[in-house]
């Protein structure tokens, strides 16, 4: 297939076409700029569906690979190498699905410098898609760092009061982790003579001697991004200050890049170290689950509450990954998608409320379900999905993760799973508190009587999310069918390593 019109190339770089068009528009043509951005992102979503249709069902290997020599570092060839398996395909779909929704949610909330906003947003999409598709470590690193810059500006320009602090903090945290990863990538490339993921996978002995340090270097980058406890403090600041679309993408996709990195690089390239590190990672994950839940319960700011809930939810994801069995890993990937949907939707609703009232303090609300019944009902579904109610998406992911973690031979003790299950109780506590403080009770604040009901455009941002939330909750077969072969292949790899170690 022609490299330029290769579906993966298209899906990665199509947003840049939108950037190009927008660049030629003037700032005053806001409506047109918005439509171009939305159209581009929808077209990208369409291409990702095309990728889905091309993906052979039940395949465990990388598919649709696009390879071309890119540049030489010394004697080492760096390739332009993209490819998908079931796992990255799902995350690709999540990215291209959430981007148009986020752009649509910016419609009325972003009114200044719309042109640069949309340009940054589409650049960000290219970067995120590239992260999930890249199969060359240098290419991956380039995309990985590339996502930082648009997000830095999204927070720093369109953010709240302390936006500069938050943006710099976000940037420095993530950068300090990824520089370690860069060192590791260079070391691996030099010792194995290639930066290609497939080749490295086949040639793991070349860097086996340093695998512990390499694992740690990669883990540093990913753990900050996820974020794992105790490296999470950039997250609440970034979320609180970021504009709504930024929060949606940050929580919905960018955090997943960390978890995906663990899965694609740490687990696959260093299975022995992963096995040894699993109990420690599980410990951090469980602490994150409980800690995030407890801290989130005490927040007064809605966005902060949701941000800390992300720490808790991503703890589940990491716990599932390092359960290193099929249930844990598949549940964990699904939970990445779930978290993107549920938390994305939560941020959207919080954004809608903020746009109307310019406050995110829960105390400023109370009893507004009476005023906005539809918004309240939608929020209830979202809250419940985040709390892991059966029939909605969150449960499917959490249940399989906990099932995997509880029985994981590699973690070695069911207590991690049990402690994490406590998080399910605590999730109900903080999420229902959020719902209660904002939507239930008497309508004390007279200003809230005038709160406007959800508009059709806002509805259009939430409905697709809710449809998928129900779909995953009621009939997750499609998603697991996509995931299972790739997950089983990965798990088999790690289990072999685990057996070999004994």
């Amino acid at each position: 297939m022609n490299l330029l019109f290769h579906p993966l190339t298209l899906v990665t770089f199509l947003p840049l076409v939108g950037v190009l068009i927008i660049a030629f528009l003037s700032e005053s043509q806001r409506g047109l700029i918005r439509w171009v951005a939305l159209g581009t992102s929808l077209a990208t979503f369409g291409v990702s569906l095309w990728v889905l249709s091309l993906f052979p069902a039940g395949s465990a290997d990388m598919q649709l690979e696009a390879v071309a020599p890119w540049l030489s570092l010394g004697t080492f060839q760096v390739n332009y190498h993209l490819g998908v398996d079931g796992i990255s395909l799902l995350l690709l779909l999540l990215t291209t699905f959430l981007t148009p929704i986020s752009i649509l949610s910016s419609w009325t909330s972003i009114n200044e410098r719309v042109k640069s906003f949309m340009i940054f947003f589409l650049l960000l999409e290219t970067g995120m898609v590239g992260v999930f598709l890249a199969l060359d470590l240098v290419l991956f690193y380039v995309f990985w760092e590339f996502t930082l810059i648009p997000m830095y500006f999204l927070i720093g320009i369109w953010g709240g009061e302390r936006r500069v602090y938050a943006a710099v903090k976000f940037f420095l945290f993530t950068l300090s982790g990824s520089l370690l990863m860069l060192l590791a990538i260079l070391y691996m490339g030099i010792s194995a003579g290639t930066f290609d993921w497939n080749a490295l996978l086949a040639n793991r002995e070349a860097f086996a001697g340093a695998s512990l340090w390499l694992f740690l270097a990669f883990a540093a980058a990913f753990a900050i991004k996820v974020p794992m406890w105790p490296l999470h403090t950039w997250l609440p600041d970034a979320h609180v200050e970021a504009p709504t679309p930024g929060s949606v993408i940050l929580a919905g996709v960018m955090l997943k890049m960390g978890a995906y990195g663990f899965l694609r690089f740490n687990l696959a390239l260093f299975p022995e170290v992963s096995v040894r590190a699993a109990p420690w990672m599980a410990l951090l994950a469980v602490i994150g689950i409980l800690y995030g839940a407890a801290v989130s319960y005490m927040q007064r700011d809605m966005k902060k509450l949701v941000a800390y809930s992300s720490v808790s939810h991503l703890g589940f994801v990491i716990l599932g990954l390092f359960a290193l069995n099929a249930q844990g890993v598949a549940g964990s990937v699904l939970q990445m998608v779930n978290h993107g949907l549920s938390t994305g939707a939560l941020f959207l609703v919080v954004g809608m409320l903020y746009e109307r009232t310019h406050t995110r303090e829960m105390a400023a609300y109370g009893g507004v379900w009476k005023v906005v019944p539809v918004l309240g009902a939608l929020m209830l579904v979202i809250v419940l999905s985040s709390a892991g109610l059966p029939g909605l998406n969150g449960f499917v992911g959490e249940f399989t993760i906990l099932l995997g973690a509880y029985g994981s031979q590699i973690i070695g003790s069911p207590w991690f799973g049990v402690a994490a299950t406590l998080g399910v109780i605590l999730a109900a506590v903080y999420l229902l508190t959020l719902f209660e403080k904002v939507f239930l009770g008497p309508l004390r604040n007279p200003e809230r009587r005038a709160l406007a009901e959800i508009t059709p455009r806002e509805l259009a941002t939430l409905i697709p999310l809710l449809l998928v939330i129900f779909w995953i909750g009621l009939y997750p077969k499609f998603f697991f069918a996509l995931l299972n072969p790739s997950v089983e292949k990965l798990v088999a790899l790690v289990q072999t390593a685990a057996v070999a170690m004994r």
Binding site: G367, K370, P414, P442, Y475
Partner: protein, 661 residues
């Protein structure tokens, strides 16, 4: 097992409709309910539940001919690695019994609710919520049906949490009312969270089950259970017991049920008396082979049930709210059932579950009728006196609590039908022969007499207290003089309310016929699922003692409350009554032991620890870098010659190194 391919009776193919009829009703009401009005909404909901009942009856008829369990496959739900859980429907005598109870009693309560909610939404000042109520109600029937038709523990759990959600929604139905305006919402949250604690147990039980048996299907798990390690089974069963204490409101997790009375009365009748709360009993009966294999777990279940039965009965005695009395009574009766299944007397437990569904639903609904009558009387008083009802939105209706029994009295003259059916229900609850409660309770007592005499004593004592609070309640509500103007003006409820009451009263009266000593209809019916057990024979002396205890309790109630009084007569018992009245301070204890510490920990973590410590460490790294860069910065003084000098120094030192090496 092998039943999948042999669906004996075409009726069994209908079983998914017990779930889908309510779903259809729900969707119709959601889409069209607002436009087409209350009559449409009510009718659709009643028909949905009624259709589910018809299907259940067809299934029962099918099973009567072919009593072997049947599994109707529906769809593949989860499959990862070696884990698979499908959504299949299980049709056996146990599940069909539950279906009949849920949809039968449910339909009657639906009919009642069409009228009751008509009045309730107006009384509370938001008629638009009529539709919402029936959407929730249909959702509840749906979830409950998923629970009872499940063929594996995971689907059971789906229904289990689903009914919990409906409970949450319906307790918080008037979410802007209650204490401080937020009381109802808080009660709803409490119910959900406490149930989640129980669900935690059930979840971990499922994990253990899967890793021990490789499946969550009932057939596979229960077949493998007897051969499993006792330790594993003990863990599973005790964790399940935690789930049971949550859902069926047993010690220590019963605290949510009394607060749940914040929901409208049909909710209390359907969810918090007749169906949802009995799910725990159903779970234990369903898992019978597992519990049978570990006597220690059985003993734990039995003791939890027996102690709860007594404990809650004492609290019921000290309550003044008509629904709170019934709530504690429900906890106490659930204790009887749990104790029964703990003793291995599954049929007795199920029997009591059924009769209790009849008479407790009846009692709650009649109480609702009483409340309606009181509200009506109060509004009539206002109309005469001041002619305004402007506080309708504020949640307090002019100060008088229409649920407080101290405000009632003499209602038997105002509301004769309600009085009669209430009498039937009360006597059945107290266990007076030959009403249904007598027979079912008797079977439990017989089982207790076989297993443990202390438990028998505890249960008899609980039965005595039951009769006592029943007598007290009857006297306070229906006899004596009217104690308030509202009670004087109370009126009988309309036919749409009383007819379901009469039907339920008949069921409560003759429900005992289901498993009469000698015929053992239910016993033989459930044998196909639960296996053959010893049928509970009728021990005349024991039955006599039970009846005597019941009559004694009722008599005592009559004796104490027959005269008009100023202060509660039981207050003479001093601290004992205070303990009853304040619910043994359990809520306060939980508040001090669980809620406050968690709040404290959260606050510490969120404040001092997260923002104070972790963030300071992280930012401290930044500060450190800045400080270091300050020191190094001194070297970067901007004079080119300094830099050149450094280069020279560097070159020279390298050359020296090379030269002197």
């Amino acid at each position: 097992m092998l039943f999948q391919e042999t669906i004996a009776n075409p009726a069994f193919g209908l079983v998914p409709w017990v779930v889908f009829f309510p779903l259809v009703g729900l969707v119709l009401n959601l889409l069209f309910g607002r436009r087409l009005g209350e009559v449409f909404t009510g009718t659709v909901a009643v028909l949905a539940s009624g259709a589910a009942f018809v299907v259940s009856v067809l299934l029962a008829l099918g099973l009567a001919a072919h009593p072997e369990p049947v599994v109707v496959p529906f769809l593949e739900w989860l499959r990862i690695g070696d884990f698979a859980a499908n959504w299949d429907f299980r049709v056996d005598t146990l599940s069909v019994t539950m279906m009949l109870v849920v949809s039968g009693v449910g339909t009657l309560i639906h009919i009642y609710a069409t009228r009751y909610m008509h009045a309730d939404v107006r009384h509370n000042g938001d008629p638009g919520r009529y539709r919402r109520f029936f959407v929730y109600f249909s959702l509840f029937i749906l979830a409950m049906m998923i629970l009872v038709t499940a063929n594996n523990y995971l689907m059971l759990f789906v229904g289990w949490e689903g009914v919990g959600l409906c409970s949450y929604l319906l307790i918080g139905f008037w979410f802007e009312k209650g204490e401080d305006g937020i009381g109802n919402a808080k009660a709803a949250k409490k119910a959900f969270v406490v149930n989640r604690i129980g669900d935690f147990g059930l979840l971990v039980a499922m994990f253990t089950m899967f890793w021990a048996f490789g499946s969550l299907d009932f057939d596979a798990v229960l077949a493998a259970a007897p051969a499993a390690a006792p330790g594993v089974l003990l863990v599973i069963t005790l964790l399940m017991l935690l789930g049971v204490t949550g859902k069926s409101a047993q010690i220590p997790l019963f605290v949510w049920l009394p607060d749940a009375m914040a929901g409208p009365t049909p909710v209390s009748a359907l969810i918090h008396a007749a169906t949802m709360v009995t799910a725990g009993v159903y779970l234990v009966a369903r898992s019978a082979p597992m519990f049978n294999a570990v006597p220690a777990a059985q003993a734990a279940v039995m003791w939890v049930g027996a102690i709860t039965a007594l404990f809650a009965a004492t609290i019921a005695l000290g309550q003044n709210d008509i629904k709170k009395v019934l709530a504690y009574s429900t906890i106490s009766q659930l204790g009887f059932m749990v104790a029964a299944v703990g003793m291995g007397a599954y049929v007795a437990g199920m029997f009591h579950l059924i009769t209790h569904a009849f008479f407790k639903a009846l009692l709650f609904l009649s109480a609702g009728s009483v409340i309606l009558g009181m509200e009506h009387g109060e509004e009539a008083g206002h109309a005469k006196g001041h002619g305004h009802a402007e506080h309708a939105d504020q949640g307090d209706h002019g100060g008088l609590d229409p649920q407080d029994m101290r405000n009632m009295g003499g209602l038997r003259r105002r509301m004769p039908v309600t009085f009669l059916v209430y009498l039937v229900g009360s006597l059945a609850l107290a266990g007076v022969a030959p009403l249904s409660g007598f027979f079912s309770k008797d079977e439990i007592l017989v089982a207790a007499s076989r297993s443990n005499f202390i438990v028998l004593g505890v249960l008899l004592l609980a039965a005595f207290f039951t009769a006592f609070y029943v007598g007290r309640q009857l006297m306070l509500v229906f006899f004596g003089r009217e104690r308030t103007p509202a009670a004087e003006r109370a009126v009988e409820s309309p036919a749409l309310i009383t007819v379901p009451l009469i039907v339920l009263a008949l069921l409560a009266a003759v429900g005992g016929a289901l498993n009469l000593p000698g015929s053992h209809l239910l016993e033989t019916w459930l044998e196909h699922t639960l296996g053959a057990g010893e049928p509970a024979e009728f021990i005349l002396p024991l039955a006599g003692v039970a009846l005597g205890v019941a009559l004694l309790g009722l008599f005592l109630g009559w004796l104490i409350y027959r005269r008009p009084f100023q202060r509660e007569p039981l207050e003479r018992t001093g601290p004992l009554f205070r303990a009853f009245n304040r619910k043994w301070w359990v809520d306060e204890a939980y508040h001090a032991l669980v809620v406050r510490p968690y709040n404290g920990i959260s606050r510490f973590l969120a404040g001092d620890f997260d923002m104070g410590f972790i963030d300071t460490v992280a930012n401290g790294a930044g500060v450190l870098v800045r400080r270091l860069s300050g020191w190094w910065g001194v070297l970067q003084n901007g004079f080119v010659r300094t830099y050149a000098l450094m280069v020279v120094v560097g070159v020279v030192s390298i050359m020296l190194y090379l030269a002197l090496r």
